[in-house]
């Protein structure tokens, strides 16, 4: 990407040194138009607009899709995955790709939450969150300080976490001694508490990523880790912060899962790890890091729920739902890839 090759193709003008003035005069008036044009031809936006249009059109043709009750159902079903996906977005932007230990971590957090109910709800929540943050931040430290491969590391961590959980719980289902957590299943204004938590977390994460030093460092580190290191940015520390935040989000999902199910066994987390990745990718966050946002992930989570809901209403099987989810993620990932390689040429 050296200068002489690309000056022309990008700006259509000689844009250095003494030619600067002239180049500026030529490119300045075109700016807004070109900016809009770029937005409209951005493959990611094209894919998302097409998918949303398809959902709307099919939705109009489907009875009961556009109803308040169904909207509630869509939001509710996206809440648990969405909460963790917000944390996963932060980690992905910071360049650590994905975690495959999410289900296991959420399961263990749920077990801890239920097993500590006798100490009071607040204590149980604090202990559960601390456990989630500690376990995940530890993985972040290994990735940040020793540049471990996140995928390999989290596969190992997932086995280790569920191994320890099974060992301590004796492989049986964990039941609470007392039940004080029913408040977590409340539905103020008709929506589960988890939906409100999701919205607050999204706003907080968006602000954190855009407006704080740590958040902005994450974008830089994710885009070019070597440059970030050479510039003396605190790569390892920021990576740990990202993973700790992720752990916090996983733990919240774990607590809600526990409260909803009122018991926890080793299968509680289910396919959470992969659902979370799908939501983040469907939102258009780049798997390679450096691009994405919490808002986009919220959109991705809701979109996946809406599509599943739509297929369900039209009577398609679970298999078809999974298939469509896979196709959606594949298209968005391809669009993100096309966009980033096009920008580099």
């Amino acid at each position: 990407m050296t200068a002489p090759n690309n000056d022309h193709s990008r700006d259509g003008a000689a844009a250095t040194g003494l030619a600067e003035q002239q180049a500026n005069a030529e490119t300045a008036p075109q700016m807004p138009g070109r900016f809009l044009a770029r937005r409209c031809t951005d493959p990611l936006n094209v894919v998302i607009v097409l998918v949303v249009l398809a959902v709307i059109v099919t939705g109009v043709l489907t009875t009961r899709f556009f109803s308040v009750a169904n909207a509630r159902a869509i939001l509710s079903s996206s809440a648990w995955v969405g909460i963790t996906a917000i944390g996963a977005t932060i980690v992905m932007i910071a360049g650590s790709a994905v975690s495959l230990a999410v289900s296991e971590t959420a399961t263990v957090v749920a077990m801890i939450f239920l097993a500590t109910q006798q100490f009071g709800l607040a204590t149980a929540i604090v202990l559960a969150l601390l456990a989630g943050v500690a376990v995940t931040a530890l993985q972040g430290a290994v990735i940040g300080f020793w540049t471990a491969n996140p995928i390999v590391l989290t596969i190992a961590a997932g086995f280790a976490i569920s191994g320890v959980a099974t060992w301590i719980s004796g492989g049986t289902t964990v039941y609470p001694q007392v039940t004080r957590f029913n408040g977590l299943n409340d539905t103020p204004l008709g929506l589960p508490l988890a939906v409100y938590v999701l919205l607050v977390l999204t706003a907080a994460a968006q602000w954190f990523l855009r407006r704080t030093t740590a958040g902005r460092h994450m974008y830089l580190i994710g885009e070019n880790p070597r440059a970030a290191r050479a510039a003396g940015l605190p790569v390892a520390q920021v990576t740990v912060i990202a993973w700790a935040t992720f752990g916090f989000c996983i733990a919240i999902t774990g607590v809600f899962l526990a409260a909803f199910n009122t018991s926890a066994n080793s299968a509680l987390g289910g396919t959470l790890s992969l659902d979370v990745i799908a939501a983040v990718l469907a939102g258009g966050t780049a798997i390679g890091g450096g691009r994405g946002s919490a808002l986009r992930t919220l959109g991705g989570a809701v979109l996946i729920s809406a599509i599943s809901d739509l297929l369900l209403l039209r009577g398609f099987s679970t298999g078809i739902q999974l298939l469509v989810k896979g196709i959606l993620v594949a298209f968005v990932v391809i669009a993100v890839h096309v966009r980033s390689t096009r920008g580099r040429q």
Binding site: A3, P4, D11, R216, A227, G232
Partner: protein, 513 residues
């Protein structure tokens, strides 16, 4: 003329006539002309230089000649035949070989495989032994006798890889070899080998087009030089009638003023950088230096001399470095980049693309990348404050304000480098600015601008320390010049330095000439 397809050449132009004729080439991008009515000829066996600052149209001409880009109008004649170079493969079959400024060798393959790579004329089933023998010959022509054909390329230094790439193009028996900035990453000794090899292919009757920013090299090597400016041809002049300043005038339309040196060093000991016994196993041996604020220190050394390793070690990028470094009386924890940065060291790498800028991020984000904590005392950024800071930096380094929102990748090399350097300027928490090859791949205008920025930074009280392999840059910018060779410091000069002495220090024992 070794190529079988050259049979028609005698008809049109005769054996001594021009081998390559370029007539009225035009090419625009999105309505904006990049090359306008460019014509020149290259004779058989002639080495023809093309000069011009970034954006002058050099690379567009090269792309049209090598089949990467079709011209809008105009004619290219090779060996007396008008040719349509529809693709790089077609161009190669017609005898055009290109050495691009980007490395296009594959580090995982062996040297031999790399030499055969991309040669469309290579036979399908290679005779291994013959190929190895030819490879040895090609390598020794390039002064690379120490390299074995079976060695993986990844074991070679960057400069040696570049030599292999040049060797590949020169060994294709082409009628026209185009070299686009082939020496940008080479030391002067390596450059000497490349020049010798180019002269040999030219003597065999091959025409050579040599594109370079290094004007003294152009004058040393070429027979004639065509200068482009704003897409137009300014002149084609035989080198006998040219000097470097003539070339600069042709390229810029006016000569850039030279920087004058009149400065008093700030020799308060509390403001200096003290390096004692800095050592990096295998790369740097026992380097000591006290650098005072307000001056520019130049480390003169070829690749592998240790000059760039001094900077990398200070920046925390050599974890195995040992020694003692103090900046403003405080020890610098130089075994980690974070520690070095906290102590007030800012580093500008020689690898702008992979170790420098965040190319997909806007220019503004790049200018602010390392100063976010200073802009956000409580860790929270204020958009207006950021914009102000970005704008004033853009003004300082000479980037138009409306480009702040564009990705850094959209800027030319020279402007990218200005952003990279600007990132470390005007920071209260930086006391020492280290730059490795501060103007690599930068046009003359951009280079003067960057030199002025560095001079101004020193005047503002920074310690500026840079490494370079270019004599002109070292002499122009350095207040103190330290020569290095084979991992050691050779000498230290202050004022009254002559280029020949520098050259001797840097290359003795390497270049027999």
């Amino acid at each position: 003329m070794t190529d079988a397809t050259g049979a028609t050449s005698a008809m049109a132009s005769g054996p001594a006539g021009p081998q390559v004729v370029v007539e009225g080439l035009n090419r625009s991008f999105g309505g904006v002309p990049a090359v306008r009515d460019v014509s020149f000829t290259v004779g058989t066996g002639e080495i023809h230089g093309i000069c011009g600052h970034n954006g002058a149209g050099k690379s567009t001409v090269v792309k049209m000649l090598s089949g990467q880009l079709p011209p809008d109008s105009g004619r290219i004649v090779i060996g007396g035949r008008t040719v349509v170079l529809g693709s790089p493969q077609v161009a190669q079959r017609l005898g055009v070989a290109l050495v691009d400024q980007e490395l296009s060798v594959v580090p995982e393959l062996t040297v031999l495989d790399n030499l055969l790579l991309g040669d469309v004329c290579a036979p399908l089933f290679n005779r291994r032994r013959a190929a190895v023998a030819r490879c040895r010959q090609v390598l020794s022509d390039m002064g690379l006798d120490r390299i074995r054909p079976q060695q993986p390329l990844s074991e070679l230094s960057l400069g040696e890889r570049q030599l292999v790439e040049v060797a590949r193009a020169l060994s294709q028996n082409a009628r026209l070899v185009i070299l686009d900035e082939p020496t940008a990453t080479l030391s002067d000794a390596e450059t000497g080998h490349v020049f010798a090899a180019i002269r040999r292919v030219a003597a065999r009757g091959c025409s050579v087009i040599f594109v370079s920013h290094r004007l003294s090299e152009v004058l040393e090597l070429c027979d004639a030089v065509t200068v482009l400016r704003d897409g137009r041809k300014i002149a084609t002049t035989p080198v006998g009638e040219l000097t470097v300043s003539d070339l600069i005038v042709q390229m810029l339309g006016e000569a850039p003023h030279r920087l004058t040196a009149a400065r008093v060093p700030d020799n308060r000991p509390g403001h200096s950088l003290r390096i004692e016994g800095l050592h990096v196993p295998g790369r740097l041996t026992d380097f000591s230096l006290t650098a005072e604020a307000g001056r520019v220190y130049a480390l003169a050394g070829q690749l592998g001399s240790g000059a760039s390793d001094v900077l990398r070690a200070l920046a925390g990028l050599h974890p195995r470095a040992t020694g003692r470094v103090e900046l403003r009386m405080r020890a610098v924890p130089f075994r980690s980049p974070v520690g070095a940065a906290r102590a007030g060291v800012a580093f500008v790498s020689n690898d702008r693309k992979s170790e420098g800028l965040f190319l997909d991020k806007p220019v503004a984000a790049n200018l602010l990348a390392t100063r976010l904590p200073a802009l956000a005392p409580a860790g929270v950024l204020r958009p207006r404050r950021e914009q102000q800071a970005a704008r004033s930096l853009a003004q300082l380094v000479g980037i138009a304000e409306h480009r702040l929102r564009e990705p850094a990748a959209a800027l030319s090399g020279g402007n990218q480098q200005k952003v990279f350097v600007g990132r470390s300027l005007c920071r209260d928490d930086v006391y020492a600015l280290l730059l490795d090859e501060p103007t690599r791949g930068v046009d003359i205008g951009g280079r003067a601008a960057i030199h002025q920025l560095l001079r101004a930074a020193a005047d503002a009280g920074l310690i500026v320390l840079f490494a370079s392999t270019e004599l002109e840059e070292l002499l122009e910018l350095g207040d103190v010049i330290i020569t290095m060779r084979e991992t050691r410091m050779i000498a230290r000069y202050e004022g009254g330095i002559d280029g020949a002495a520098l050259m001797r220090d840097m290359t003795q024992g390497e270049r027999a000439a």
